[in-house]
C-alpha cells in the first residue's frame, strides 16, 4: 500500500513541478485571464438584452459585457489548461514511455496527471472567478468557479489527447485554440445568432457555459449541466487514457509462470559478479502476431 502511495505522490510531485516550470503558461494565467476578461467587460455594450437560458428555461435580462466576460473567462481557462496539458504530454510522452518500460506503473502515472490537471484547473478557475468578481458580482460565484473548473478539466484532457496524436507543437496549439474559439463563439448569443440552435448542446463546453451563465444571472442551481460537462471530461479523459496507454506500452510480453519482473536493490556494486544463468521462468518474450 505504501509503495502505491509512493508511486502516486512521486509522480504527482514531478507532474506539478513540470507544470510550475512552464513559465509561458504562468504568464498566461497571470496576464491573459485579467486582460481578456477586462477587455470583454469594458469593450462590449452594457445594455441589457433578453435571452432564454436553456438550463433553467428562464428568460434573463443580461448585460452584454457581463455575458461576454463569462465567455472570455471560459475561453481563457480552457486555452490555458488545454495548452498546459498539451505541452506536458507533447514533450513528455517519450519520457513517460521510458518510465513505464522501466517498471513505473502506468496507473499511477495517469492518476498523477489527472490530479495535477485537477489542481491546475482549480487554481486557474478560482483565479478567473476572483478576477470576474472584481468587475461585477455574479449571483452564484461558487457555481461560476465550478463551471470554469469543469471546462478546464475537459480541455486539459483534450490537450492530452492532442499531445498524444499530433506530431508538431504548432498543430496542437492550433487545434486547442480553434476548438475553444468555435466552441465558445457559437454559444455566445451576443456574438452568434445561432446560439439557440440544438447543435450547440453538443459543443465541448455546453454544460459549463450553461452553468456559468446561470451562475452569473440566475439563482437556480444547475447540477445537471455540471454533470453534462463532467461527462464531456470523462469522454475526453477516456480518449486521452487510450492514447497514453498506446504510447507507453511495451511489446515485451511476460511469459508464464513468473509474471513479476525481478526487482533490484540498486545497492550492490555494479561490478559485483553475477550468476551467469537464470531460470527461463524469468524470461520475457515478444512475439509478432
Amino acid at each position: 500500500m505504501r509503495g502505491h502511495l509512493n508511486w502516486f505522490t512521486t509522480a504527482t510531485r514531478f507532474a506539478l513541478i513540470e507544470h510550475s516550470r512552464n513559465r509561458f503558461a504562468l504568464v498566461l494565467v497571470a496576464l491573459f485571464i485579467p486582460l481578456w476578461t477586462s477587455l470583454a467587460y469594458l469593450a462590449m455594450p452594457d445594455t441589457p438584452a433578453h435571452m432564454r437560458l436553456r438550463a433553467t428555461g428562464e428568460t434573463l435580462a443580461v448585460r452584454g459585457n457581463e455575458l461576454t466576460e463569462i465567455s472570455g473567462a471560459l475561453n481563457a481557462v480552457t486555452l490555458i489548461t488545454g495548452f498546459m496539458m498539451f505541452a506536458a504530454t507533447f514533450s513528455g510522452s517519450r519520457f513517460d514511455h521510458r518510465l513505464a518500460m522501466a517498471g513505473y506503473p502506468r496507473t499511477h502515472l495517469v492518476l498523477a496527471k489527472v490530479t495535477a490537471l485537477a489542481l491546475v484547473s482549480a487554481v486557474v478557475a478560482a483565479y478567473a472567478t476572483a478576477v470576474t468578481c472584481l468587475a461585477w458580482t455574479p449571483r452564484q460565484p461558487l457555481l461560476l468557479a465550478a463551471a470554469l473548473f469543469c471546462a478546464g478539466l475537459t480541455y486539459g484532457a483534450l490537450g492530452v489527447g492532442f499531445g498524444s496524436v499530433l506530431r508538431r507543437e504548432v498543430e496542437g496549439m492550433f487545434a486547442i485554440v480553434m476548438t475553444s474559439i468555435i466552441d465558445l463563439a457559437l454559444q455566445n448569443p451576443i456574438l452568434s445568432s445561432g446560439a439557440d440552435n440544438p447543435i450547440i448542446s453538443y459543443l465541448p463546453t455546453y454544460g459549463a457555459m450553461q452553468a456559468a451563465t446561470a451562475a452569473g444571472f440566475s439563482a437556480s442551481p444547475v447540477p445537471a449541466y455540471l454533470g453534462i460537462q463532467l461527462t464531456w471530461f470523462a469522454v475526453a479523459a477516456l480518449i486521452a487514457l487510450v492514447s497514453f496507454h498506446r504510447s507507453t506500452r511495451s511489446t515485451l510480453l511476460v511469459t508464464a509462470p513468473n509474471p513479476k519482473r525481478e526487482p533490484g536493490s540498486g545497492g550492490s556494486s555494479l561490478l559485483s559478479p553475477r550468476r551467469a544463468d537464470v531460470s527461463p521462468a524469468s524470461a520475457t518474450d515478444t512475439t509478432a502476431p
Binding site: 514531478f14 516550470r21 518500460m101 536493490s265 540498486g266 545497492g267 551467469a276 524470461a283 515478444t286 509478432a288
Partner: protein, 196 residues
C-alpha cells in the same frame, strides 16, 4: 526476426543470442536498421515477425536522450529509483562518478550540455544493475576522457558477468569487443577477425 516499415524491409532475418559476460558490438551504416533492432530488443517496437527473449532485467539506453528538461538530475534518479523499485542509489552514484557528472545532481536537465545529458541518459539505463545492457550510440557527445572511462566501465561490467550490446555507426575500438556484428542489407554478419 524481421521488420519492415510499410514496404521497406529493414531487418530481413536477424538471429542473435547475447551470451552472459559478453561485450558485443553491432555496427552498420546510417539507416541500416541498428536503432530499429535495439528498439525491438527493448520492447519499444513490435517486430513484423519474430520473438525476443530476455533472461531477466535489462537496461536500454536510447539513441536520442529521453529525459525531462524540467526536472533535475537528482529528480530523474528518484523517479527511476521508484520505477526500478530500488532501495538505494549506489549503482547510479557509481556510474555518475565514473562518467564524471556527480557535481550536476541539482542542475535542471534542460540547462545541461549535450554530453552531460547523454551521461544521465546512460545512467538511467544502468542504475538498476541489469543483466543485459542495450546501448544505442551511448558515447555520443562524450569528451575523450569520458569516452575512455565509458569503455573501461563496459569492460568491467562484462567481466562481472553482464551482457553488453553496443550499437554504433562507427567501428572504432573494435579490439575492446568480444563479438562484432555488421548489420548490412537487413542481415547480421559476424566479423570473424574481431570475434576470433
Amino acid at each position: 526476426m524481421r521488420h519492415a516499415y510499410r514496404r521497406r524491409v529493414v531487418l530481413r532475418g536477424i538471429d542473435l543470442r547475447l551470451r552472459p559476460g559478453t561485450l558485443c558490438g553491432i555496427v552498420g551504416e546510417n539507416g541500416a536498421g541498428k536503432s530499429t533492432l535495439l528498439k525491438i530488443l527493448s520492447g519499444e517496437l513490435r517486430p513484423t515477425r519474430g520473438t525476443v527473449r530476455h533472461s531477466g532485467p535489462f537496461g536500454y539506453c536510447p539513441q536520442h536522450v529521453v529525459l525531462n528538461d524540467t526536472l533535475t538530475v537528482r529528480q530523474h534518479l528518484e523517479f527511476f529509483q521508484r520505477a526500478y523499485r530500488l532501495a538505494e542509489l549506489r549503482c547510479a552514484e557509481e556510474v555518475m562518478a565514473v562518467l564524471g557528472f556527480t557535481g550536476y545532481a541539482d542542475e535542471r536537465v534542460g540547462v545541461l550540455s549535450g554530453g552531460t545529458r547523454q551521461k544521465l541518459n546512460v545512467t538511467l539505463a544502468l542504475m538498476h544493475d541489469p543483466r543485459v545492457l542495450l546501448l544505442d550510440e551511448p558515447y555520443q557527445g562524450f569528451d575523450w576522457d569520458t569516452y575512455q572511462r565509458f569503455w573501461d566501465l563496459a569492460a568491467r561490467l562484462r567481466d562481472a558477468g553482464r551482457s553488453v550490446l553496443i550499437v554504433s555507426h562507427l567501428a572504432y575500438d573494435t579490439e575492446r569487443l568480444d563479438e562484432l556484428w555488421r548489420l548490412d542489407g537487413g542481415l547480421l554478419r559476424l566479423d570473424e577477425a574481431v570475434s576470433a
